[in-house]
Structures are given as structure tokens and as C-alpha cells.
């Protein structure tokens, strides 16, 4: 069992027993469900919108080289720079080198999951460069020295009392739990950072190929300040974020907002496509786009899994997942959590180390049902399970167990015999009071639950008696 797997099991067991935590998450997701339902009802045909988004993303991903090159050319025409990074290390090095060479002391960051993926913040901090998250949720988790709990709502796991206590401790002079005053305090602090930072780093919701622009959506306007006030703007994006046309945003933006938060469209939808132009009074002097591969092209090569690259990071699957609602976002221990994280992470970071995530699912299919780009998530989880089994050495006990199971179900007589042996074994365990102990093969269940009564006769015996065949 990998280190990540052990940590996941430990944290999941802890969080699932934390009723307060579960209530908090349930309340947040219940509110989301109401808003999301209302948002979907604003569409004439939500299913048609999903099909359209699926079609757009299919076109983009299946012509990825063409659209990335078109995007690159447009950006360069406007005076921007585009850097292609094969892995986290390359992306980090490009940005840290840039920051050092330009004498950057402070960086303001708009929300970017890729920056979490490549651990950019830590790399910059190591060089003595202060990094300030400007998305309110990210700002809160940064103050707590935590990672985001959710890709859309990073501080979902905190209530206002906890945030008030945090602000009181970290910001000083803030002694209130009134949300508006807490925001005012964050705003006062952040505005000083916006205007003193030399570099702004943003992600990109979409890279628009025909316009050579990045599309960003926020509800707080922080991305616009990150991208326009500091003298250097760095965009950090996965290669799969490209879309063919500006026109595609007409569907993707409302769908992303509806699936992500239930809004018809987010408060600020911004397009930025280069450094300050001669006729502009503000904007960055330098504009850099870092296109990160980091395993995505390998995922592209896997035709069966390719559609995972269609993901627009709305977080709808996470909200729908009963496992996420129980174990919470931090238990996953990965940048991407929930069903999409469980599909994506093993592919990007290794099936062997993260195969356990493929099992963090009840396979209920709720994630597939809500995905706005129609990714067949629960089947991809099954594919991951299959591939993990094929690629790794399973414990002998597991292999023996499944071999026995297969041997028994292939023959009715063997199946009946195995049932009889199982009942006998259960009686022996009970008689010797070994249930729930380390010697009990069913310990994972029996240590927390009362063992079920042992039936006198098997179902087959009862069925036979009823039909007079036994």
C-alpha cells in the first residue's frame, strides 16, 4: 500500500467520523444544488448545452496541436511570450527565473489549479518572493497554510466563525464575524498587495485559439487586477484548456458558471490577450503564457481516457460525489479532488501511487450525470481500476481471494460448498469470540459494525425447499 493510499485511508476515516465537518459540507453543497438547479432551468435545453460543450471540447482536444499553435501565434503577434513546459519542474523554472531576472519581490496570484499542481508558490517563496493569493477562498486557505479544499470553493470547509478567528489572528485589528466586514478586512490587505506586486499570475479557464486570448472568470474581480496592475502578467495553463473560437465562449461561459456555482454567468468574465498596447493607459508591460503538459499528452495518447481532457474544472462532479461529501477535499491529498481528481491524478502522477483513488467511488454515476461536458467519469474510474490491477503487483491475499471467488462462481456445486464453508467459518469466529480482532478476515467491517446473524440455511437451500427441489 502506497504512502498516499495510507494517508488517504487515515484521513478519510477521521473526516467521515467528524459529524460537524460533514454537516458543514452538506449545507454548502445543498445551497449549491439549489442554485445549480435554478441555473440549469434558465437554459432552454440544458442537455443540448452539454452536448454543445462536449462537441467544442472534443474538437479542441482532437486538434490540439493546431489550436495551440494558432493560440501561440496570436499571442506573439500582440507582443506576448509563450513557453511550453513538459513538466512541473520546467514550468516552475521558467517562472522563477523570470521573477528573479525582473527583480520581482511580490507576486499576486489569481486562482490557478495548475499552480497548485506544479507547487509554484513554494518554489517562489523559497527564493524569498512573497506570494499572495487574491481569490478570497484561496487567501483564507493560504492564511491557514492549507491547500484548497475544493477546486471552485477552496474554503468550503470553514464557517465564518473560523474565518473570523483566523483573520483576528493573522490580520490584526479584525474582531468581528460579520461576513461583509471580514471581506472588507481582506480587501484592505489585498489592495496593498495588488498595487505593490511586480508580477501577477493567473490561470486560464480557456485559451481562445482564434483570438489568442485567455478567458478568465471570477466573482470577485481579483483576476482583473492580477492581470492588469502588476507590470508582468504570467498565465499558467494546462495545454488542454484551448478552445477553437471566441464564439465558443457563448456556450462555455454560461455552462461553466451554471455548473460551477449556479450563476447564469460569473460576475467578471475577462479576456486578456497580451501586454499593454500603445493606445492603452494600463496593463502589463510583459505577458507570458506557460503551457503545461505534465502528463497530459500521455493521457491524450490513451484514446479510451482522452475525454478526461475535456474537463472544464467546474467542480460539479465533486459536489455530486457522496464520497467527497463524506471524506472531504483534503483527504484526497491531491491537487484535484473528487471524481475528476480520482480519474486524473493516477494518470498524471502514476497509477501505482494513486490507484487507491480509483476506489474512492461508489460508482453511482452521479458525477457522470452532472458533468457539463459529459465525461463518462465513473467508467473512467473503472478503467483506472482495471489498468492499476494489470500494471501492479496485488497482495497475494487479494489475488488468492479473487482466484477462489472465480473458481467458486464457475460451478454451482463449488459455489454451494464455498457458501457452506463461509457460514462454518463465521460460526467458528463467533464461537471463539474472534470477530473484529486481527485474526478476523472480515475485520475492516466487523471492527466498526455488529456482525450480521449467521443464517441457518443458504439462499439456495431456502429456494430449493420452497420449490420442492431440495
Amino acid at each position: 500500500m502506497s504512502q498516499a493510499s495510507q494517508e488517504f485511508l487515515r484521513s478519510a476515516a477521521e473526516k467521515s467520523a467528524d459529524i460537524t465537518h460533514r454537516q458543514l459540507i452538506r449545507r454548502a453543497i445543498d445551497s449549491y444544488n439549489v442554485a445549480s438547479e435554478r441555473g440549469r432551468s434558465r437554459f432552454f435545453d440544458w442537455e443540448a448545452a452539454r452536448l454543445k460543450c462536449q462537441e467544442i471540447k472534443w474538437e479542441a482536444v482532437n486538434n490540439l496541436d493546431r489550436y495551440l499553435l494558432e493560440f501561440e501565434q496570436r499571442v506573439k503577434e500582440r507582443g506576448g511570450h509563450v513557453f511550453w513546459a513538459e513538466n512541473s519542474e520546467e514550468a516552475r523554472r521558467y517562472i522563477t527565473d523570470l521573477a528573479v531576472s525582473r527583480g520581482v519581490h511580490k507576486v499576486v496570484k489569481s486562482k490557478s489549479m495548475v499552480s497548485e499542481e506544479i507547487h509554484l508558490g513554494a518554489a517562489l517563496e523559497k527564493l524569498g518572493i512573497k506570494v499572495v493569493e487574491t481569490d478570497l477562498g484561496e487567501y483564507i486557505v493560504q492564511l491557514r497554510e492549507e491547500t484548497p479544499y475544493h477546486i471552485v470553493t477552496p474554503a468550503m470547509h470553514l464557517n465564518r466563525t473560523q474565518i473570523a478567528a483566523l483573520f483576528k489572528q493573522k490580520l490584526g485589528g479584525v474582531d468581528t464575524d460579520d461576513p461583509q466586514q471580514l471581506v472588507a478586512a481582506a480587501r484592505r490587505s489585498l489592495r496593498l498587495d495588488f498595487f505593490s506586486a511586480e508580477m501577477g499570475i493567473s490561470g486560464a479557464n480557456f485559451l481562445v485559439a482564434d483570438a489568442g486570448m485567455i478567458a478568465l472568470t471570477t466573482n470577485e474581480g481579483n483576476a482583473r487586477l492580477c492581470t492588469s496592475v502588476p507590470r508582468i502578467h504570467v498565465v499558467l495553463s494546462g495545454i488542454e484548456k484551448v478552445i477553437p473560437r471566441l464564439q465558443d465562449l457563448a456556450t462555455l461561459w454560461p455552462v461553466l458558471a451554471t455548473a460551477g456555482t449556479g450563476q447564469p454567468i460569473t460576475c467578471y468574465s475577462t479576456l486578456a490577450g497580451g501586454p499593454r498596447q500603445p493606445n492603452e493607459t494600463d496593463g502589463p508591460e510583459e505577458f507570458h503564457v506557460v503551457l503545461v503538459d505534465n502528463g497530459r499528452s500521455e493521457l491524450l495518447a490513451n484514446v479510451e481516457e482522452r475525454e478526461v481532457l475535456h474537463c472544464i474544472r467546474c467542480g460539479a462532479c465533486i459536489n455530486a460525489c457522496p464520497i467527497f461529501r463524506t471524506v472531504g477535499g483534503h483527504s484526497y491529498g491531491t491537487t484535484y479532488m473528487g471524481p475528476i481528481g480520482s480519474v486524473l491524478t493516477p494518470r498524471l502522477r502514476g497509477l501505482k501511487e494513486f490507484q487507491h483513488l480509483s476506489y474512492a467511488s461508489s460508482l453511482c454515476g452521479a458525477c457522470t450525470e452532472v458533468c457539463p461536458v459529459k465525461i463518462d467519469l465513473h467508467h473512467h474510474l473503472l478503467h483506472n481500476r482495471r489498468d492499476a490491477v494489470n500494471e501492479s503487483d496485488r497482495p497475494w491475499s487479494e489475488r488468492f481471494g479473487f482466484a477462489m471467488w472465480r473458481w467458486s462462481v464457475e460451478d454451482a456445486g463449488r459455489f454451494a460448498m464455498m457458501g457452506w464453508l463461509a457460514r462454518l467459518g463465521m460460526r467458528v469466529m463467533r464461537a471463539l469470540r474472534l470477530e473484529g480482532t486481527a485474526l478476523d478476515p472480515a475485520r475492516p467491517w466487523n471492527r466498526n459494525h455488529a456482525a450480521p446473524p449467521i443464517p441457518e440455511k443458504s439462499f439456495r437451500a431456502l429456494w430449493g425447499k420452497r420449490n420442492g427441489t431440495n
Binding site: L249, E280, D293
Partner: protein, 244 residues
């Protein structure tokens, strides 16, 4: 158009592209797509829909019969603001309007640089209005990038520039300007009216939109605590009057 490729200084570029091309040699099944199915409900009266969406977004939308009425409406809002300069997009239409409202405030025109932190309001034009969401499409041609435009924004409605959806507004804009805008945004003022009006301590800030530079101006709009003054403002001049 086939973009040119360069490999200098970034060898990873060629490797990534090669991997992508190799991967794409195996095609994936194309999804069915929505065919002719309608995604958004048709909008018959775009201005009416826009106004309704504005109301839902707690944005006040005033349709004025002429430039003079627009100036009066601007003056009314400015009168409620604390003393201080305002930021205005430097356009001939707004310069004409400014001579009409004349409230004695110092005006910082956009041609003089970006808005200062002390600006009490911002007044700009818009490229287009989006009926379906009650959003405003603006570009760098309207104002600097960093400005929020959340305080007293003035939206000149150009003939034919109100579109039912973001996409149609992009098209209208592209037609009008013969180029893509450098910078666009679609502010969408979605606040909870109850919280905003009941609990507003006087600086009008809500959870959303709390950080943008323009919000600073908006916060001071409702310093008097009047609910009607807590709303972001903008106006639509009639197309006829824009021709004046």
C-alpha cells in the same frame, strides 16, 4: 492560416507537439453534438429582457429619452457621492455629457491615465449589452483594464449592439469594430438583495465583487445608507440620441 513554428529557446515545445501529433494519429469517436437543438430560449424583446435581468442583478437601468435626461440622471447619482474626483472615459459623447451634468467635481479623463484609488465613481461607455444575463460588454477601448466600472457606469447603447447572448454581442462588436477587442469583460452584478440592503453597514460591499478597483467607488455610493443608492448604476441612451 497555418501558424509558423519555432523551436529556439524552448526545445520542449517540439517534443510536446510531437507527442500530441503521435497521440492524435489514433482518432477518438466524435460525439453526436446538439444538432439544431436550441440551447437558450429565444429573446424577443432584448431591451425588455435586459432590463429585467438588470433588476434581478440589482443593477438599476434607466432608459433616457435624450442626452439631457442622461446628464440629469448622472448628476443625481453624483450628488449623492462624497466629494472627490470621478473617472470618465475620454470620448466625445461623454465629454458632451460632462458639460451637461456639471457638478463641479474634478474629472479625471481616461486619456490622463488609469483611475486613482480615490475616484468616487467611474463613467464609461459599453461595447454591447447582453440581454440574456443583463451583462455589459466593455473593451479596453472603453476604459483601462484595471478599472471595475462598478460605480456609476454610463452605457452608450450603439444601434444593434444589444445581443441576446454573449456570442451575439461578440459578433456585433466584431462587426462594429472590424477587429476583436483587446480586452473584454462581462460584469454581472449578482448580489443577494436582502443581505445587501439589510445588513449593509454603509459601505455597500457584498461578498462578490469585493476586491476590484471599481468597487472602491461603488462602496461610497451608498454612504447615506439609502437602499436605492446601494445599486450600481448605468444608463442607456437611446440610439437616436447617440446620433446627436
Amino acid at each position: 492560416m497555418e501558424p509558423t513554428e519555432t523551436t529556439a529557446e524552448n526545445p520542449s515545445r517540439a517534443r510536446i507537439l510531437e507527442r500530441i501529433r503521435t497521440a492524435l494519429r489514433t482518432p477518438a469517436a466524435r460525439p453526436a453534438g446538439p444538432a439544431d437543438r436550441k440551447i437558450f430560449a429565444p429573446v424577443t424583446d432584448m431591451l425588455d429582457r435586459f432590463q429585467k435581468e438588470c433588476a434581478a442583478n440589482i443593477t438599476e437601468c434607466v432608459v433616457t429619452p435624450d442626452m439631457r435626461a442622461s446628464a440629469r440622471a448622472v448628476a443625481d447619482v453624483l450628488a449623492a457621492l462624497p466629494p472627490g474626483e470621478i473617472f470618465v472615459q475620454d470620448s466625445s459623447a461623454l465629454r458632451r455629457l460632462a458639460t451637461e451634468w456639471q457638478d463641479g467635481r474634478k474629472i479625471q479623463w481616461s486619456s490622463e491615465g488609469g483611475p486613482r484609488e480615490s475616484a468616487q465613481a467611474t463613467i464609461t461607455a459599453a461595447e454591447a449589452l447582453v440581454a440574456l444575463t443583463g451583462s455589459v460588454l466593455v473593451s479596453a477601448a472603453c476604459r483601462p483594464r484595471g478599472i471595475g466600472g462598478r460605480a456609476g457606469s454610463h452605457c452608450d447603447r450603439e444601434p444593434g449592439s444589444t445581443g441576446p447572448r454573449p456570442g451575439s454581442s461578440f459578433r456585433a462588436h466584431a462587426r462594429a469594430k472590424h477587429r476583436f477587442p483587446e480586452f473584454l469583460c462581462l460584469p454581472h452584478y449578482r448580489f443577494k438583495p436582502d443581505r445587501r440592503h439589510r445588513e449593509d453597514p454603509g459601505d455597500g460591499r457584498a461578498w462578490a465583487g469585493a476586491i476590484d478597483r471599481g468597487a472602491g467607488a461603488e462602496l461610497r455610493i451608498n454612504g447615506d445608507g439609502a437602499a436605492t443608492r446601494s445599486k450600481p448604476y448605468f444608463w442607456i441612451c437611446s440610439p437616436r440620441m447617440l446620433l446627436c
